[in-house]
């Protein structure tokens, strides 16, 4: 091979760890599985023990990926995969997103084991599929080429379709998987058509070449850019591409719903950010107009629809859509300061959302109760700690001061003020009022309605408790001391986001 084809594996190290780990999980699962056919008298392993082994293994894989990415972030360098036209670049933004997405994946993983056993749908493949999906996400967040974007989106979504249908004997779960796959395929086709048009207009798929060709791209290229953004808009469930999200998140097993809602949305926003900033022109007036309208729609539709939901998974789905609207405020227009605010809000909303879904995981029982608002009546007396935790996560999602969600919303609203987007600012403010009402209904039911006789008293597993505590700690720390607490290399989350925004 010649010099230009020499590759730097450091650029894909976290991805390699998770990808190889996923293949290893398939192998491990099939080796541990009892042989089919007649029992030959060998000791049979129980599915619970196989699940525990796979869970431990997958945790180790994700922790290794997080450590590698954090180390790469500390070195503060941008590592391209190849010298010329790299398909993948591991820069600060990619390292930050890798840490965030892998952490959320780890959280979903830890929430899974006990929940899946409770619902009797515990299968070893879950772990391999989850790792494969994380691998696709890691490819996406470091993508520097449209072909990589397409591959990453498929790698991320195909395992998720299967995961959504994990509870296949339940109609809602099958419906969720089918709806997810059909709409996801549609979105992929849109995005792919956009990529084809962009390639036709510019002759390039690499972000850098596209960026230099974008000013004279013409109508075809602009249609392509719009289609690509629409395809990505489906993945993050921005209005008007949001219709699948509540249905899929309601039907899918709760840990999977948490993973789809948080990790896939985080990844999608990062890719959108990379494409708009790196391949297109963020100050392009038409693009800013489109993002302004989409942000307004996402904010208002998400908040208003959240008010009428009685199923808490649907409620969280719509709250997630409304909060995505806040994240999209940073796209109007995209700059270094707004990217830092965007990354902070992704982390803040991510941990709040993961925690809220974690409470639903704990509340779930075998018949899939514990999802409706009525199931939470009097939880404040039955399980004070769970009720307090759920309230905290919902306060954060609603942006009440003292929580991470407040700091996140403050930052993105400041971005809107600085770019003199008065209308957008007002829409965001009113949407948040509506959102406040929608989320505070739950604490009202938990604390002010009398306890029902014979209501279930859910217990918390150790892994679930760990995730809930970590999320609660993150929500409080990022909310009360966003600048005060240091992490690995002595900088706070806000400094991390600024460094990540500056490094790309």
């Amino acid at each position: 091979m010649n010099e230009s084809m020499a590759v730097n594996l450091d650029a894909v190290m976290p991805l390699l760890i998770v990808g190889v780990g996923a293949v290893g999980a398939v192998l491990l699962e099939s080796l541990l599985r009892p042989r089919p056919g007649p029992d030959d008298g060998s000791p049979r392993r129980s599915p619970a023990r196989i699940g525990a082994a796979l869970s431990l293994y997958s945790t180790a894989v994700l922790l290794a990926a997080i450590a590698t990415a954090a180390g790469s972030f500390a070195e503060d360098s941008s590592v391209p995969f190849q010298a010329v036209q790299p398909p993948v670049v591991l820069d600060g933004l990619a390292a930050f997103a890798t840490v965030l997405v892998s952490t959320v994946g780890l959280g979903a993983l830890l929430l899974s084991s006990r929940y899946l056993q409770k619902l009797r749908i515990h299968r070893g493949e879950t772990y391999a599929l989850l790792l494969l999906s994380v691998a696709g996400m890691l490819l996406l967040v470091s993508a520097a080429d449209l072909v990589t974007v397409f591959l990453g989106v498929e790698g991320m979504c195909l395992p998720l379709y299967a995961l959504a249908g994990l509870d296949r004997h339940r109609r809602t779960s099958s419906e969720s998987a089918l709806k997810f796959q059909l709409l996801g395929t549609f979105a992929s086709a849109l995005g792919l058509f956009g990529i084809a048009l962009l390639y036709g207009a510019t002759g390039a798929t690499g972000f850098a070449e596209l960026h230099s060709a974008f000013p004279e791209v013409g109508a075809i290229g602009r249609v392509g850019a719009g289609l690509l953004c629409a395809g990505l808009g489906f993945r993050i469930a921005a209005v008007p591409f949001h219709a699948w999200a509540p249905d899929v998140e309601e039907g899918a097993p709760t840990p999977v719903a948490a993973f789809v809602s948080v990790a896939m949305r985080t990844t999608g926003v990062i890719v959108l950010l990379r494409v708009v900033l790196g391949a297109f022109d963020p100050t392009d007036l038409a693009m800013v107009d489109v993002f302004r309208v989409v942000a307004m729609l996402t904010l208002s539709v998400g908040a208003v629809m959240a008010v009428v939901q009685e199923n808490l998974k649907r409620l969280l789905a719509y709250v997630g859509i409304a909060n995505l609207g806040f994240v999209l405020l940073a796209f109007v227009p995209l700059s270094e300061g707004s990217v830092a605010a965007l990354l902070f809000s992704l982390a803040a909303f991510g941990f709040s959302n993961l925690g809220a879904f974690g409470i639903l995981v704990v509340m779930a029982d075998r018949n899939r109760g514990g999802e409706r608002l009525g199931d939470f009546t009097g939880l404040g007396q039955r399980r004070p700690a769970l009720a307090a935790g759920f309230s905290l996560f919902l306060f954060s999602l609603a942006g009440i001061p003292g929580t991470a969600g407040f700091v996140a919303k403050l930052q993105v609203m400041l971005v809107a003020v600085r770019s003199e987007e008065t209308a957008l600012f007002l829409v965001a403010g009113f949407a948040n009022l509506v959102l406040l009402y929608a989320t505070l209904r739950v604490p009202v039911v938990m604390y002010m309605n009398p306890e029902e006789r014979g209501a279930s008293r859910p217990t918390v597993g150790s892994a679930e408790g760990l995730v809930l505590l970590a999320c609660a700690a993150a929500v409080l720390i990022f909310g009360l001391l966003p600048n005060g607490v240091s992490f690995v290399d002595g900088s706070s989350l806000i400094e991390w986001t600024r460094a990540a925004a500056a490094s790309r």
């Binding site: 192998l27 699962e29 099939s30 089919p36």
Partner: protein, 111 residues
């Protein structure tokens, strides 16, 4: 320019002649009235149910086909690629092998 595609054109012509022959010969020499209890393939209802096993075997086939897709170009370029080619094929073949192993242990090959 055109002679580059000569092979493809020949292939197309052979395929077309074969297709016509395979349809025409049975009509000419076959039994006049085929037995009524043998339906035409494709004449069955699309809503008929299949055993899931067929899907498993189809997936197994797809997996092996995927392997052939890479192995044939590798065989053609074996000398040019040298040791790099071997590395690439091994990196590709290992996950495929894991997939085959998984299907085997899952009992796909047991009918």
């Amino acid at each position: 320019m055109l002679e580059d595609f000569l092979g493809v054109l020949l292939m197309l012509a052979v395929a077309a002649v074969l297709a016509v022959l395979l349809h025409a010969l049975p009509r000419r020499f076959g039994p006049r009235a085929p037995a009524a209890e043998v339906p035409e393939p494709g004449a069955i209802s699309a809503r008929q149910r299949y055993a899931t096993k067929f899907l498993w075997v189809a997936l197994f086939f797809a997996l092996l086909e995927l392997g052939v897709l890479l192995l044939v170009p590798w065989a053609v370029l074996f000398r040019e690629l040298g040791s790099d080619g071997v590395i690439i094929v091994v990196v590709f073949a290992l996950p495929v092998a894991v997939g085959v192993h998984y299907q085997w242990r899952k009992g796909v090959l047991e009918w």
